[in-house]
Amino acid sequence: MIAVVILTHGSLGLEFLKTAEMIIGKQDSVEVLSIHSGITLSNLAERLDLLVEKYKQTGMVIITDMFGGSPSNIAMAYLVNKNVEVITGASLPMIIKILSDRKTFNDPTDLCKAAAETAKNSIIIAGDIMGR
């Protein structure tokens, strides 16, 4: 099963995971990493190196909160590993899709494509539905 790393600013990632687990149940092979003010990014890179090694057989998706932010910038450096994919712009529908469907995918990139589609479609302006 493809492993998932949620890498965000502050405690956002942990809260995403807690909320997702509240909806779809406890998850295995999920790691949460966060970036706080003042921490060195090299410590984080060391932890990511270990995770890439740990999950090199299953593949790994790194979910980050914002394209262009430092969590995303760090994650993108791991794209040199063929079995790692990065998806940015984390949302609850995206994370739930990845966690639910990762058993049925072998390729992290295919999983991310499906999750991106779900995440984009989950953005609804409620007034449009009401036909206001």
């Binding site: 003010s37 003042g38 060195t40 990014l41 394209f67 262009g68 430092s70 910038n73 450096a77």
Partner: protein, 162 residues
């Protein structure tokens, strides 16, 4: 004067604060990364070029290339990003009175003092900045609309002179 001619120390180089803060606030059209590591790493090059906002030019130089090319051209407005105090000091010949110096993010490491929520400096870095501060304005803040921390007397404070 100044304000949109900025040299910034930020060990994350381009990230959310720079994109959403500095580039937008000062309508910066030209960004430089002056960094030996990034200049020599194709992946880091690709990452930063992919995240720079549309309509903003990004130039990535190593420090010696930066010193040479920067002084040759008169750029009307710019943001230059340095990873460390030492890197900024190494190009201090390029600094003039119209350039605002900003210390934005320097991560914590052993033997560092906390200057702000995002800036941690060791004694030699504080001394280098205080020396620059005698000639040029230096702000310590992560975002443009914040109030700067004044570092004028930090070196004296650390030496026990105050």
């Amino acid at each position: 004067m100044g304000k949109n001619r900025i040299f910034r120390i930020d060990d994350r180089l381009i990230h959310g604060q720079v994109i959403e803060g500095w580039i937008k606030y000062y309508k910066i059209g030209t960004v430089f990364i002056a960094n030996d590591r990034v200049a020599s790493d194709p992946i880091q090059n690709m990452i930063y070029k992919s995240i720079i906002p549309k309509g903003v030019d990004l130039y990535i130089y190593n420090l010696s290339e930066f010193s040479k090319s920067f002084s040759k051209r008169k750029w009307p407005e710019f943001l230059v990003l340095f990873e460390s105090v030492a890197d900024l000091i190494s190009v201090s010949d390029s600094i003039d009175y119209d350039i605002d110096l900003n210390v934005g993010c320097v991560a914590n490491r052993p033997h560092k003092y906390q200057i702000s929520d995002t800036v941690f400096l060791d004694l030699s870095e504080i001394q280098s900045l205080c020396k620059l501060r005698e000639k040029y304005a230096i702000t310590v803040k992560k975002l443009p609309w914040e109030t700067s921390i004044e570092i004028m007397n930090f070196n004296k404070l650390l030496n026990g002179d105050i």
